[in-house]
């Protein structure tokens, strides 16, 4: 990039080097220079200037009043008072009044200052010279000489042993910092492959917290379940439910197109992971007629009557199914854990 040579004639002429002067008398496009200053009404008429002064002062006074009103509102309105204000609807009286008074107090300081600058401060345009950012050749030569002297005195180039060991030491020392990060979390191991589900665990209805019976699951309804023994008050509840969340629907067994799905179901009741295989949102929209479920985050759509395969959207694979049956007490139970990891795909998933 730096080696290319650009012929001078391919670059446009340096524009307008002679500021303010007409370069060539008969050039119709010459720079006429800064236009003369046009006085404002305040520059000529002292009464107009006085009016501007009063306007600025008035705005500063309004700001002061707004601050007083802010403090008054803070003291007067209880924090939970709700009032109806058209067209905003029901609003918190305190939030509404504090916001407006603070906003106006600030706004009028700004408006006053800007009005002052625009009407009363000089608006004569002035020009500052620019100087090249690049240093002059003399300065550069001086710096290069200084640098060479410094480098020579340090003998960094000559004493290679010092240089190399110093680089080595500096390269190694940040490793301590990286090693210290090791305990930020555990290794993945097989954590993402396992959930709380296991053979014999009953399916607990998320709403009633009661074990589910097959007859509780009606055609066309969507039921959410968690494994027996998990409680919302448990310490690790959030992390466990993030993997174990289950959705249950009942489909006429004749309508189930996937053979394995039918085998793993109970009288047409099928249980799938609720966690989307895309990036892990909980799936929650169910279309009764088609048995499609839709993830409301990124619209991945799965066909629950066909092994929960993806029929639209960004998900990459079907929802894992949980094999279920009925125990001797007549409750739905899991016949094992999910056979594949639930949730988003990852490198080790395979």
């Amino acid at each position: 990039m730096s080696t290319q040579e650009i012929p001078e004639e391919n670059l446009p002429v340096e524009q307008g080097t002679a500021h303010g002067a007409v370069k060539v008398a008969d050039d119709p496009f010459a720079d006429p220079g800064l236009p003369p200053h046009k006085p404002r009404i305040q520059d000529i008429d002292e009464r107009a200037a006085k009016r501007s002064e009063r306007a600025v002062a008035f705005m500063f006074v309004l700001s002061m009043l707004a601050t007083v009103a802010f403090i008054a509102a803070y003291v007067i309105f209880p924090v939970d008072k709700i009032v109806y204000i058209w067209p905003f609807g029901h609003v918190s009286a305190l939030n509404f009044s504090l916001g407006w008074t603070l906003g106006l107090a600030l706004f009028f300081i700004g408006a006053g200052a800007v009005h002052w600058a625009r009407t009363l401060m000089s608006d004569v345009e002035m020009a500052d010279e620019r100087h090249p950012i690049q240093a002059s050749p003399e300065v550069k030569a001086q710096v290069m000489a200084d640098f060479a002297a410094g480098a020579e005195e340090s003998a960094l180039g000559r004493r290679k042993l010092i240089r190399n060991t110093m680089f080595g030491a500096l390269a190694l020392v940040p490793l301590s910092g990286i090693v210290l990060l090791r305990d930020m979390g555990p290794l993945p191991e097989d954590k993402l492959r396992k959930t709380l589900w296991a053979r014999g665990k009953q399916l607990i209805n998320m709403n009633t917290h009661e074990p589910l019976r097959p007859e509780d699951v009606a055609v066309g309804s969507l039921t959410f379940a968690m494994p027996e023994g998990l409680s919302e008050h448990d310490h690790g509840f959030q992390t466990e439910i993030a993997k174990a969340a289950l959705m249950i629907v009942r489909i006429q067994p004749d309508d189930i197109k996937d053979k394995r799905e039918l085998e793993w179901s109970h009288e047409g009741i099928v249980a799938f992971s609720k966690i989307c295989t895309h990036v892990g949102c909980p799936i929650s929209l169910y279309e009764q007629q088609t048995h499609h479920v839709l993830c409301p985050c990124h619209q991945s759509t799965f066909d629950l009557s066909d092994g929960a395969r993806v029929i639209f959207g960004p998900a990459g694979h079907a929802l894992p199914q949980l094999r279920i049956g009925v125990n001797d007490k007549g409750f739905l139970e899991a016949l094992g854990d999910f056979e594949e990891p639930v949730g988003p795909a990852f490198w080790e998933r395979g």
Binding site: T17, L94, R130, G185, L192, L285, H298, G316
Partner: protein, 542 residues
């Protein structure tokens, strides 16, 4: 000793003595000499960066206030605050303390809303400011580094925003964090490790709020503050660009002095920005976590949307087909990993543009005159194409909202986005370039024939003509002062000695690109003095 006797004779005013004291220690007079009457040019578009700066300050001020009450902890507690509908619910301490700020701390809700609105405005202002700099070519030498500082601020601002709105641990932001964690899992080989390390175990675990908190209030804003200071120092060192016009050259800066005009205008503008954000926060609710509820990994609301600046990433992840490759016992999650890569790549395209353009032009000179977008058609067209891609992805990110509000099929919106993410920028590029050239032609005609006055004159022989008013010398200069590059040419294949010249591939590419920038059909030649004289002196004007 002589100064001592002088001060005994006549004591300087108190202000001056304080200034003397400070100067003796800080050298303030030398600083003031260079900067007190520093000239700043005036243009509305120079105000956009100020909005960004001031909203950043507003965010810092309100953010400090919020830390007084916020508890960055994921310990589960039962809610017993004054908001009745959530009484008795389990939630993290983070959510609980955000509820406390919103309902029990007087003015807490206002500060929270100013903070959040300020963040949206900060990012929007940075975006628009960046576009102003881009379209006027203000990123050219010597300002390329400052362009990168600005870009980094925008990029870091997005993550500061993301880590910030995730802190309340509400259902909406938790869904966003889950999305981020799912995206991290897609990274080949190390994805699961990064996720475990970031969250201190499996998602959501009990650590991420505290970790996001230190990133949000210390690490990211600390870096950003440093970048803002560096950005401003460079603005002062380079002196601001100005637009071409009479008396404005590449070697001067025309405007008004810092003291008093810009102290009042810019200082006042801080209050205007703060005031407007405060009023917006008073009347428009933002992120009502009480209506959204605390996070549960197995709950979700419909219409979940990130804050606007993350909508682009959201779009990428929504419209990408779900490609997964399973090989040798491993999964390559392209459907998520490609969007994760595209996110920085698409943004990075605009960040490196200044270096590409300077390579294409081969121009090593300093540029202090901001260009009119029409006079750089290819760049302008590229910028509009980039914005189009960005905008299409925003549509993709809100495909559910578009579907419900405009009664459209979500599938067709998704397909529209998939196609137009590629086609849209091409169409936008072509249209923009044509518009720019059209505007250049209009400038050309305006200079030669003057402004249409709207007066219709009937000539003695019955012909109607419209009277064109000639432009003032200043306006003529304004419309003709811009630079026009000659297209680059490859040197002849053989040199004067008949030896075959070796031309590198990159040089060939550079010349090709240069021709597409400045060759035929990419710019309209400026009117020449001869053309002008012929028309004005020749046969009148029409």
């Amino acid at each position: 000793m002589s100064t001592a006797t002088e001060t005994k004779n006549k004591k300087a005013p108190a202000g001056e003595r304080v200034a003397d004291w400070a100067d003796g220690r800080l050298g303030i007079y030398t600083l003031a000499k260079a900067n007190m009457r520093k000239i700043f040019p005036d243009h509305w578009s120079f105000m956009l960066g100020e909005i960004a700066l001031y909203s950043f300050i507003v965010i810092i001020l309100t953010g400090v206030y919020l830390t007084l009450f916020f508890h960055p902890s994921m310990n589960e507690v039962e809610y017993h605050g004054s908001y009745v509908p959530l009484q008795g619910q389990l939630m993290s301490e983070a959510f609980n303390s955000t509820m406390h700020i919103s309902f029990d701390v007087r003015g807490g809700l206002l500060i929270r809303q100013i903070h959040h609105w300020g963040a949206l405005i900060f990012l929007a202002a940075m975006f628009v400011h960046m576009m102003r700099v881009f379209f006027t070519g203000a990123f050219r030498k010597p300002r390329e580094i400052n362009w990168l500082f600005g870009f980094l601020l925008f990029f870091l601002g997005m993550f500061t925003g993301f880590t910030g709105y995730s802190l309340p641990d509400d259902l909406l932001s938790g869904t966003g964090v889950r999305f981020m964690q799912g995206a991290i899992l897609s990274v080949p080989i190390i994805g699961t490790y990064i996720s475990m390390f970031l969250f201190g175990g499996e998602f959501p675990g009990g650590d991420f709020v505290a970790r996001f908190y230190s990133a949000h209030i210390l690490l990211l804003p600390g870096i950003m503050l440093g970048l803002v200071v560096a950005h401003l120092i460079l603005v002062v060192v380079h002196k601001h660009t100005h637009y071409q016009g009479p008396g404005r050259t590449n070697n001067n800066v025309v405007g008004m002095p810092l003291m008093p005009v810009y102290m009042a205008k810019a200082g006042g503008f801080f209050f205007l920005v703060f005031g407007v954000i405060a009023i917006v926060a008073a009347v428009a609710t933002i992120n009502p976590i009480w209506a959204i509820g605390p996070y549960r990994p197995d709950y979700v609301g419909t219409g979940a949307q990130p804050d606007w600046y993350m909508g682009f990433a959201e779009g990428l992840i929504r419209v990408m087909p779900g490609w997964e490759i399973n090989l040798w016992g491993h999964t390559l999650v392209l459907g998520v990993f490609i969007p994760l890569l595209l996110f920085p790549l698409v943004l990075g395209a605009i960040a490196v543009y200044p270096f590409i353009e300077s390579w294409i032009t081969g121009d090593k000179r300093e540029h202090h005159i901001a260009q009119r977008p029409r006079n750089a058609p290819t760049r302008t067209a590229f910028g509009v194409a980039w914005i189009t891609a960005y905008g299409i992805m925003l549509v993709g990110g809100g495909n559910d909202i578009f579907a419900t509000h405009f009664n459209l099929s979500i599938n067709s919106i998704t397909w529209f986005v998939r196609i137009f993410f590629f086609a849209g920028p091409v169409i936008a590029f072509i249209i923009t370039k044509r518009i720019c050239l059209g505007l250049q032609r209009r400038d050309h005609d305006k200079v030669l024939h003057g402004r249409e006055s709207g007066i219709i004159k009937r000539l003695p022989h019955g012909e109607f003509v419209e009277v064109h008013e000639p432009l003032s010398a200043g306006d003529r200069y304004k419309l003709t002062a811009h630079e026009q590059y000659e297209p680059a040419e490859l040197p002849p294949a053989v040199d004067e000695n008949g030896v075959e010249r070796k031309i590198s591939r990159t040089e060939k590419l550079r010349v090709k690109l240069n021709k597409s920038y400045y060759g035929d059909g990419s710019q309209i030649a400026k009117p020449t003095a001869e053309e002008y004289k012929e028309i004005t002196e020749g046969h009148g004007h029409h």
